[in-house]
């Protein structure tokens, strides 16, 4: 199945190069089919105005049948946005990255979803269980069984 992952990622990359990313999103680095980085910024009025964050995508051979591992970069001076669904280690609790992942979702579609997740935020705060989660979190956020609540 590795060939499907490669073909699909090649196609996505080609589209990004040809058509560019949606507004506020920029491809930083995509040298291989394992890890890509994007910068993400919320446009217009929001709690995150003028703040830029870095998103990391990790792909395995199962992509796109199974979701990529997506998180905010928190090393080298980068920080994760303060948001009720973003942990301080960069892990994100979003159902589309877990049980509602669909193989038709593209990398840019995920970026746009996360961008609007930030845009709709009403209050900058960390998840209530942030400290506990971060202490025990696995390196790969896909190994976490997030509980997706329906609010916000």
């Amino acid at each position: 199945m590795a060939s499907i992952a490669a073909r699909r990622l090649a196609k996505e990359l080609k589209e990004i190069h040809a058509e560019g990313c949606p507004v506020g999103i920029n491809l930083l680095k995509a040298d291989d089919f394992e890890t890509w980085w994007f910068s993400i910024e919320v446009m217009g009025e929001s709690l995150y105005k003028n703040e830029a964050y870095t998103l990391q995508f990790r792909f395995d051979a199962q992509y796109p049948i199974s979701s990529p591992a997506v998180q905010f970069v928190v090393t080298d001076g980068h920080q994760a946005p303060i948001h009720p669904h973003v942990y301080s280690n960069g892990h994100i609790c979003a159902s589309i990255l877990g049980n509602e992942w669909s193989p038709v979702l593209s990398v840019t579609a995920v970026c746009v979803t996360l961008q609007s997740m930030l845009a709709s935020c009403k209050k900058k705060e960390r998840p209530v269980d942030n400290d506990r989660y971060v202490r025990h979190a696995p390196d790969n956020p896909k190994k976490t069984q997030f509980h997706y609540d329906d609010d916000t």
């Binding site: 199945m1 499907i4 073909r7 699909r8 196609k11 996505e12 949606p22 199962q62 796109p64 049948i65 199974s66 669904h85 979003a94 159902s95 589309i96 509602e100 669909s102 193989p103 038709v104 979702l105 593209s106 840019t108 579609a109 746009v112 979803t113 609007s116 997740m117 845009a119 709709s120 997706y148 609540d149 329906d150 609010d151 916000t152």
Partner: protein
């Protein structure tokens, strides 16, 4: 069926000459068992309990194979088919959605069939507005989609070719759609971007079309990696669930289909059979009277209606067995297969809790409390588990390598008890109180520090004995091997036949079983409130423990060819005696639970609060 796997009947398997046991009855009152009260436990009690009669510490249960459960599933499916007038695959999806609650299902279906069919992922929701808007529905992610945190639109890749919602009859027998898009544009799979002209495409009723290779990879991943029995359509936000015939079409090649990739076919075959198991597991998990066997690789189920109600767990300990033995590839269904050690181990587990062993005589809630305490205090108690100790007389290191607690220091010949480190001479007599915690220390403690020390000591007293029996039972694997060797030697050095040396094996197994009972009696004693009842409990515990240690010692001793007939007699006597003592502990404790006789020194789930929390 159940009684075939119960304790009493094992005798029949190991003893081909049961008369031998009966013949030894009279000797039991002999010198070696002088503390046995024959008035209380009269000679009649030594008869092996007749088959079929349930003892007070046993529960009725049945074991079911996967196909037997599949029959039950089929009955429910047929029932829903006939009541609701839907086909089998729809009935199955509805039942799964309703967690197999037929009554609620029928009620809901009669109330509003459409909403139930939508909720179960059988049909797509009817468009509520104009068809122009509904055309973009699946690109948006439907309203029923949960939480992308108020995200706006999700972009699907490659331009979704959504048609307006299908109006095809939802209740017809399911046939997977396989079609090419009508437009002149060649089909491109929106997942893998394959655009080959001979691409096989598939879609559910929603007509979200993908290539069969992507469906295949997706289904295998969902079933194998995520253990899902209700797999949704691959389109983003689409809630339709793949019906069984669809999954079958993808995973199981039709007869006469061209030979494909063998690894893929093997993966598919495994995924399909795992899917069957997931359905059975879901059915079993939804039914309180059933429980799936927890042993790895086993697909049997146990039915135990008497333990279905949680409130029953204060009066019974529902130890059950699925009927199989062994682990994984070495598993057998045959009960008569009396293998040695772990390979032939019976699949015994508790129906009432998650403990994967027989925790009789103690009830689930107390067993759970105890295990939690042991986990919480594991660091404090870790040193005890170690298999080496120092001789209390000469300080040389002594390693325990058998189950027997009667230790003799190789260096100074000091004989002592492994558990309490006291001299063994005090254990051999009628005075044997190794099992009982001396409460005096706790009573004398005045300040907080000595009280906390006393409470730790008290815990360690019970934990020590608990861990020791567990350890000894684990060492029984070695003992099995050693015993088998002895049995072989015995056949050479004596005139005994293979059948006639089985008494050794029987004794080893009995010791292991009794150590399990003893182990759990320490968790029980730890929580038992002080008083007459606890004293009696500990009397029975002490008698069993002493009997077990005696037999254990006999089994580990050297065998002189000229003494074999005598050894055989002794081992047989003691085995029967140990068995009886075990019966007494199990019977009396079980009766105590039925009578509500046991009072605790701590608050235990399902029981009355203790009057005072003094030990």
């Amino acid at each position: 069926m159940s009684s075939d796997y119960e304790y009493s009947d094992d005798d029949g398997d190991y003893y081909d000459d049961e008369e031998m046991i009966d013949g030894t009855q009279d000797d039991l009152s002999g010198a070696s068992e002088d503390d046995m009260d024959m008035d209380v436990y009269g000679g009649d009690d030594f008869k092996v309990t007749p088959k079929g009669k349930r003892k007070s510490y046993e529960v009725d249960y049945d074991s079911l194979s996967q196909s037997a459960v599949e029959k039950l599933v089929k009955e429910d499916v047929d029932y829903i088919c006939s009541i609701c007038g839907v086909d089998e695959s729809v009935a199955s999806l509805l039942l799964r959605h309703m967690k197999w609650n037929k009554e609620r299902l029928v009620e809901k279906y009669m109330d509003n069939p459409t909403s139930l069919l939508v909720a179960a992922g059988v049909t797509a929701p009817e468009p509520t507005t104009t068809s122009a808007q509904s055309r973009t529905r699946s690109i948006d992610g439907s309203a029923s989609r949960r939480s992308t945190r108020g995200a706006t639109r999700i972009l699907a890749l490659g331009g979704s070719k959504t048609k307006s919602p299908t109006t095809s009859p939802p209740l017809s027998h399911y046939t997977p759609r396989s079609f090419k898009p009508k437009s002149d544009e060649p089909f491109v799979c929106p997942i893998c971007f394959d655009d080959s002209s001979d691409l096989r495409t598939l879609a559910l009723d929603c007509e979200h079309t993908f290539c069969s290779g992507c469906w295949n990879a997706y289904l295998v991943s969902k079933i194998r990696d995520e253990g899902e029995h209700s797999v949704k359509c691959m389109a983003e936000g689409c809630a339709l669930v793949c019906p069984d015939p669809f999954i079958r079409t993808v995973l199981v090649p039709a007869p006469g289909a061209p030979i494909g990739d063998p690894t893929q076919e093997e993966d598919n075959r495994k995924a399909w059979s795992h899917f069957q198991e997931l359905l059975v597991r879901h059915y079993v998990a939804s039914n309180k009277r059933l429980k799936f066997c927890p042993y790895p690789g086993c697909t049997n189920t146990v039915s135990c209606p008497s333990a279905a109600d949680k409130s029953s767990l204060t009066t019974i300990v529902p130890t059950v067995s699925c009927g199989a033995r062994g682990i994984g590839g070495q598993m057998t269904q045959s009960q008569s297969q009396s293998g040695w050690g772990l390979t032939g181990k019976e699949h015994k587990f508790c129906f009432g809790c998650h403990i994967e062993s027989d925790h009789r005589p103690v009830v689930c809630s107390v067993a759970r409390m105890w295990l939690k305490k042991c986990r919480d205090d594991s660091e404090t108690a870790n040193w005890i588990k170690s298999n080496t100790k120092e001789c209390s007389q000469c300080q040389s290191t002594i390693e325990k390598n058998g189950g027997c607690n009667h230790m003799t220091c190789k260096k100074c010949k000091h004989e002592f008890c492994w558990v309490c480190m006291g001299p063994w001479s005090e254990h051999g007599t009628a005075w044997y109180s190794c099992n009982r915690y001396d409460e005096k220390a706790g009573v004398d403690a005045r300040d907080a520090q000595s009280r906390s020390r006393a409470s730790l000591e008290r815990y360690l007293h019970y934990y020590n004995r608990w861990a020791n029996h567990e350890q000894s039972a684990k060492l029984s694997l070695d003992l099995y091997a050693k015993t088998e060797k002895k049995m072989e030697d015995m056949q050479i050095t004596s005139s005994l036949t293979w059948i006639e040396v089985q008494f050794m094996k029987k004794a080893v197994e009995e010791v292991e079983r009794c150590r399990m009972t003893l182990k759990w009696t320490y968790s029980m004693a730890y929580y038992l409130a002080k008083g007459n009842e606890k004293d009696l409990f500990e009397d029975n515990q002490r008698d069993l423990e002493k009997a077990v240690e005696d037999l254990s010692e006999l089994l580990e001793g050297p065998i002189e060819p000229e003494n074999i007939p005598m050894l055989r007699q002794k081992v047989t006597d003691k085995t029967v005696y140990v068995q009886k003592r075990n019966e007494i502990v199990l019977e009396d404790t079980a009766k105590g639970f039925l009578e509500g006789r046991w009072k605790w020194n701590a608050s235990v789930e399902g029981f009355d609060e203790p009057e005072r929390t003094e030990y």
